[in-house]
């Protein structure tokens, strides 16, 4: 199994498919690829913000968000060994379900609360703000 794992660093098709415990591990190459990609994907957003590379904050924010999403995918693939086949596809299904719930929870909260803010703020006077609990 050891030689098998080192020879075929890409696939796990050849061995131990019945045992959930030993399935789905990575290889040295996989971990290093994930690590180097993560370092690059971490360094770029920090550099963008700290060196103030892009002129508009909106563009920088978009770039930071995009790079975060890419890095999360890199971590999922290379460190958490996410694929559509592990545990008969159930981990992927649970992940997709969670992503849907997370998207609804975050975007829904932001949507509702920012609309509340815009609807509430003009009606509020300084005096009301001060007497607020």
């Amino acid at each position: 199994m050891t030689s098998h794992a080192t020879e075929h660093s890409h696939g796990h098709d050849g061995h131990d498919h019945g045992h959930g415990e030993t399935e789905g591990h990575g290889s040295f190459k996989g971990y290093m690829t994930g690590f180097i990609l993560s370092v690059i994907l971490t360094a770029i957003p920090f550099w963008l913000v700290m060196a103030d590379v892009l002129s508009s904050p909106t563009a920088t924010a978009l770039a930071v968000m995009l790079l975060a999403v890419v890095q999360i995918v890199v971590h999922m693939v290379y460190f958490l060994h996410m694929n559509s086949k592990s545990e008969g596809g159930w981990t992927m299904l649970a992940l997709i379900f969670t992503i849907v719930i997370v998207a609804i929870a975050i975007s829904g909260s932001l949507w509702v609360m920012y609309h509340l803010n815009t609807n509430m703020m003009p009606a509020m006077t300084e005096g009301m703000m001060k007497t607020m609990p």
Binding site: P45, L80, F97, I101, Y114
Partner: protein
């Protein structure tokens, strides 16, 4: 009824499985579902910070409070701990007990450095009067980042427990399964940290 069927059967029916049925273990799937539920906790805290993250109550904002070089060092600590945990898993697969323990120890040190830097940052902020009670922004910040830090602390305790287990009982099937669960947990915390440094620190400083 039962006696009737027993009479008609030529062989005595067997009601006990003599061997364990070789069903694929569902531990990893169960642990993955736990992680997904943990993900929901963080999603709610991220949403809270998204809503309250600009309410400074005339207090200090991210530009004054966040020390990005410190956050960068912190991020690299967690990233290094991820790759060293990966090396521990590779050593585990080759049944190298000593190497596994060494890599786990290094992972624990990186994790401890992360928690230490975070506690230093927190204490520094509280000393400046920017504690969790100062503004809604700081309340949600301390809750989100503190929850992540608590997870890492629990992960370190788990890691030490497993190091003792591996040291005492070796790399049996049970310990391998436990190490795989902690592997998922540890890498999952790194994934959450990507969200924290991107959305809380970097985008907070952007304003």
């Amino acid at each position: 009824m039962a006696t009737q069927t027993a009479v008609h059967e030529t062989q005595t029916p067997v009601f006990l499985a003599k061997e364990e049925p070789h069903a694929p273990s569902s531990t990893m799937l169960g642990f993955w579902i736990y992680l997904m539920s943990d993900c929901l906790i963080f999603a709610v805290l991220f949403a809270t910070h998204g809503v309250l993250g600009r309410n400074y109550a005339a207090g200090p904002g991210p530009q004054q409070l966040f020390d990005l070089p410190l956050v960068a060092i912190n991020t690299s600590m967690l990233l290094f701990s991820s790759i060293t945990y990966g090396f521990a898993m590779l050593a585990m697969e080759k049944d190298k007990k000593q190497a596994t323990l060494v890599w786990l120890g290094i992972t624990g040190l990186f994790g401890a450095a992360f928690v230490g830097l975070e506690l230093y940052e927190f204490s520094h902020m509280i000393m400046e009067g920017a504690g969790p009670q100062r503004s809604a922004f700081l309340s949600s910040f301390f809750t989100l980042v503190g929850t992540h830090g608590t997870h890492v602390t629990v992960g370190i305790i788990w890691l030490i427990t497993l190091m003792v287990q591996v040291g005492k009982y070796g790399l049996g099937a049970e310990n391998k399964r436990r190490l795989m669960c902690l592997s998922l947990f540890w890498h999952f915390l790194d994934v959450i940290w990507i969200g924290v440094f991107s959305f809380v620190y970097l985008m907070g400083v952007l304003g």
